[in-house]
Symmetry: C2
Subunit: 218 residues, 2 copies
Amino acid sequence: MSTNFKHALFSQFARVGKALSHANRLELLEFIAQGERSVDELATVSGLTVANTSQHLQHLRQAGLVTSHKEGLKVYYQLSGDDVITLLDTVRGVAERHIAEVDKLVNTYLTVKDNLEPLPRKELLKRAKQGLVTVLDVRPAEEYAAGHVPGAVNVPLKELEGYLKNLDAQQEIVAYCRGPHCILAFDAVAALRDKGLTARRLEDGFPEWKRAGLPVES
Amino acid sequence: MSTNFKHALFSQFARVGKALSHANRLELLEFIAQGERSVDELATVSGLTVANTSQHLQHLRQAGLVTSHKEGLKVYYQLSGDDVITLLDTVRGVAERHIAEVDKLVNTYLTVKDNLEPLPRKELLKRAKQGLVTVLDVRPAEEYAAGHVPGAVNVPLKELEGYLKNLDAQQEIVAYCRGPHCILAFDAVAALRDKGLTARRLEDGFPEWKRAGLPVES
DNA sequence: CATATATTCAATTAATTACTTGAATACAAT
DNA sequence: ATTGTATTCAAGTAATTAATTGAATATATG
């Protein structure tokens, strides 16, 4: 009887594991972490069909990781709580530390572009308050609009070149994106350095900043 | 190119999710969290065949959650790091907060036996140092032997009755087990209260105590 | 009321996973 | 060298999951 209870409990916990067991769902969660999104928007940004996106979202909702509400024709999905950010970060951290293939991918695609230590959130807050840095948000405009680090400028990567003349060449630039492995932040930093500017990345992404209770602008 | 990288990265993270997507593997992880175990021991305590146990362990090892070493004929498995304890606790916490069925199971099987707030670790350490409590470890003897809270007495549930006469009836008793949902701790507390004794549970289990860097006896 | 839009559902197909069984491998004891 | 013990591997079977397609449902607009 009590072994049946324990097994039933583990089966429920396994639902969370199942929700995280496919790359598409992890990607959808990263998108939703930037702010609530509709099914159509999620399908577009992920490159999945609407039906497939919807099915993955049902899976995530039934596992308790997201919730939804309807506004007119559209259904909007949001994370169930900050604990889902923590869950994603914990899975990511464990994979980084213990799966050699992750190390290899990160070294091949990310570290080659920026092998400096990223800037801790609290440090960025301090420097931003002192007016010592320019903060660059390289996410798509709609994610920026949903919420961003106060004072951050939204410059998608392809517009960075044209934006350079607006920058104070003496000031340090800190770029951030959706999370710690978002290549856009790495690319931005590499491009800025190519131009002789001083640039670094924030240690993770906007969801972690927000979860830390730091100020948010929208 | 960078979308392929991101997808490859998410696929690797998904390996961690897959490792956690079956009740049997979660249970094996909870057993291993108590201390390193051999395949044969894990098969016995989980009720799975040795071959099936071994297959699940390969899965866990390839996902980076456990490591193994061989001593003579036997292969011993241990967790890859304390971050795996954190991962399990995070999955458990998310499931508890966001899956209604978990709430139902916990209420039906656990809260009915003990609905008092469990005791925080630091509080137990303090009271134990002052000699104010009796600490009861209700795990099987081999898990106790592998490591336990200093001063804890190992009394498996079926021996509790016979052990009662050894107790200082005036002193509070704190019981702990493998984790926060281990029914043995709940049963022990219920049985002790039935006898008029003052009993509580520790807030989680031995792995969390150890991860917190608190003193460990073996 | 009819049509358009957005989303979900259900059925089908293909791929993946879990368990079982028997064989293979590695190490220890005789 | 042979036998025993412990574990892993491989193949087969059954169950589950992911994507696709078309239908169904809900809401908004004309």
